[in-house]
């Protein structure tokens, strides 16, 4: 049984997680000024408009920074996963997302490495966007 933290979607984030379930990476986009934003938020930080849409993005980006987790916390949850990579990824469309880098030797990660999204259904209701080297 899946025992890692699961996102609990709320009014602002539900479209994002629904998109992941459909295999689409969606980014919030301000209707008034066009600025893209992620993580989602009710009001545009640039123009304060509450109107937004959700737009699919390419799912491609570059590694901005990354860590390799070697000591599992908590041990009973991540003991079987270490070492694993968490990365901040700058998507081509100009927003940043945190995720795991998969299908990659943990010691082979480099800055600016090109990556693309892959979707991992971890439970019947939750699909996580992860990334692999292009």
């Amino acid at each position: 049984m899946y025992n890692k933290p699961l996102p609990v979607p709320d009014a602002d984030t539900k479209p994002f997680w629904n998109g992941c379930r459909e295999g689409r990476l969606l980014v919030q986009c301000c209707t008034a000024c066009g600025a893209r934003r992620l993580p989602p938020e009710r009001f545009c930080p640039h123009c304060h408009s509450a109107d937004s849409t959700w737009q699919p993005v390419s799912g491609r980006g570059r590694i901005y920074s990354w860590i390799v987790v070697r000591h599992p916390v908590p041990d009973d949850v991540y003991g079987g996963d270490v070492p694993y990579v968490v990365a901040l990824i700058d998507l081509a469309e100009g927003v940043r997302i945190a995720s795991n880098l998969v299908a990659c030797d943990v010691d082979a990660v480099t800055a600016d490495m090109l990556v693309e999204v892959v979707f991992e259904a971890v439970t019947e209701t939750v699909t996580l966007p992860k990334f692999r080297p292009v």
Binding site: L6, V8, V73, Y84
Partner: protein, 385 residues
């Protein structure tokens, strides 16, 4: 900007034993440290009328400490929701309260059973609400994992190496060896640092602060009142709190922060130095918030001790040792004294400025810097004897 140069002072400090298992309650720790601070100042606890603390739901409210101390009329009892970022903010808050006439003698404390009770590094709930929806499901959960991401970005941008960070761990431990309060008093070498267990690259065990049970407290009052008390006052020359845009939905959150090779320090430096009327070159000793080795680098750069990217070189060659040009963390810091969440840095700065630091005393220390925070927001003080 700060407008109260030298008008307020720290007149007492107090602390408990720092340990892995206090065997007592957080309330008892807080009360002991606060009573010790009042006694140190020579002020009857009955005259305390304000208490300010900070916590993550891991401590006790200021009102309960006031009651435990037998304070008849606490007029300003405030709990700030915060982490290390708030360890100097509590003092600014105390000063603001006194300046506003809300209190006269304010205790600032931090108390926690941080090892035997609630462990900050111990992970989070399995349900990811709010902003943690975008971090925790990927196994990005603990503070070492958070700060390692910032450190890596500095490495990418400037070529910083772990060996350079090792100099910080080794130097602070050298200081802790001379500090009777310190939890870690065995000297370490750079080889020990290199051999330490990898926790989360680029951090090893010796890059990461201790977990501690304990409490410390400082007593703040006006400069005029301070003159009547037991010790020579330690004056607050300047102080600042803040950070850049997008300080996050919680202390972990840095998803919207623009450049992780710099932290809050870059955003408070101008106010801090202008308010204090001095600059980095005037500091005799600095107690820098060191939840991780790397955190020191980002703050030295941000506060202008060196330029961005130069911090890793700056800390080499003995410059930050007790006999160097800028002695840092003379008590051993969070890395080797104890993790009392940065308020223990203020206690040490007061010891240094009073000339009470014993074997680790920096001769003729007149001006000290303390900082608090490592990521998007934080606080700092410039103190003088």
């Amino acid at each position: 900007m700060w407008a109260l140069k030298d008008k307020y002072a720290i007149v007492g400090t107090g602390y408990t034993d720092y340990s892995k298992n206090s065997g007592t309650t957080v309330l008892n720790l807080a009360t002991e440290a606060c009573l010790n601070a009042a006694n140190d100042a020579g002020l009857p606890p009955e005259e305390i009328d304000g208490l300010v603390s900070f916590q993550f739901n891991d401590s006790v409210p200021a009102t309960s400490v006031a009651a435990a101390m037998g304070i008849p009329a606490a007029r300003y009892a405030v709990d700030i929701a915060g982490g290390g970022n708030a360890a100097n903010l509590v003092i600014l808050s105390a000063i603001a309260a006194i300046e506003a006439g809300l209190a006269k003698h304010v205790l600032c404390y931090r108390a926690m059973n941080g090892r035997s009770g609630f462990r900050l590094g111990g992970g989070r709930a399995m349900q990811a609400h709010g902003i943690t929806q975008f971090t925790a499901p990927f196994g990005w959960i603990t503070y070492p994992q958070a700060m390692a991401m910032w450190c890596r970005r500095h490495m990418i941008k400037y070529g910083t190496t772990t060996d350079q960070l090792g100099a910080i761990a080794v130097t602070f431990r050298d200081n802790a060896v001379l500090n009777p309060r310190a939890m870690q008093r065995q000297p370490i070498t750079l080889d020990d640092y290199r051999a330490a267990r990898p926790i989360v690259d680029p951090f090893r065990m010796l890059d990461i602060c201790l977990e501690s049970d304990g409490a410390c407290a400082v007593l703040v009052t006006s400069a005029a009142r301070a003159k009547d008390l037991r010790h020579k006052p330690v004056y607050v020359m300047g102080g600042a709190y803040g950070g850049g845009a997008n300080q996050g939905d919680d202390l972990f959150d840095c998803l919207r922060w623009a450049d992780h090779s710099e932290n809050y320090a870059a955003y408070i430096a101008d106010d801090l130095w202008a308010g204090a009327g001095v600059g980095p070159e005037d500091v005799d000793v600095a107690e820098i918030y060191d939840c991780f080795t790397y955190s020191v680098v980002a703050q030295l750069e941000g506060l202008g001790f060196c330029r961005p990217g130069e911090g890793p070189d700056f800390v080499q060659g003995g410059r930050i040792a007790r006999d160097g040009a800028l002695p840092l963390n003379t008590h051993g810091g969070l890395l080797s004294e104890a993790y009392i969440h940065g308020l223990n840095h203020v206690v040490e700065a007061v010891d240094q400025l009073r000339g009470d630091a014993g074997a680790r005393q920096i001769p003729e220390a007149e001006i000290a810097l303390t900082t608090a925070g490592a990521m998007t927001c934080g606080s700092a003080l410039v103190l003088r004897r």
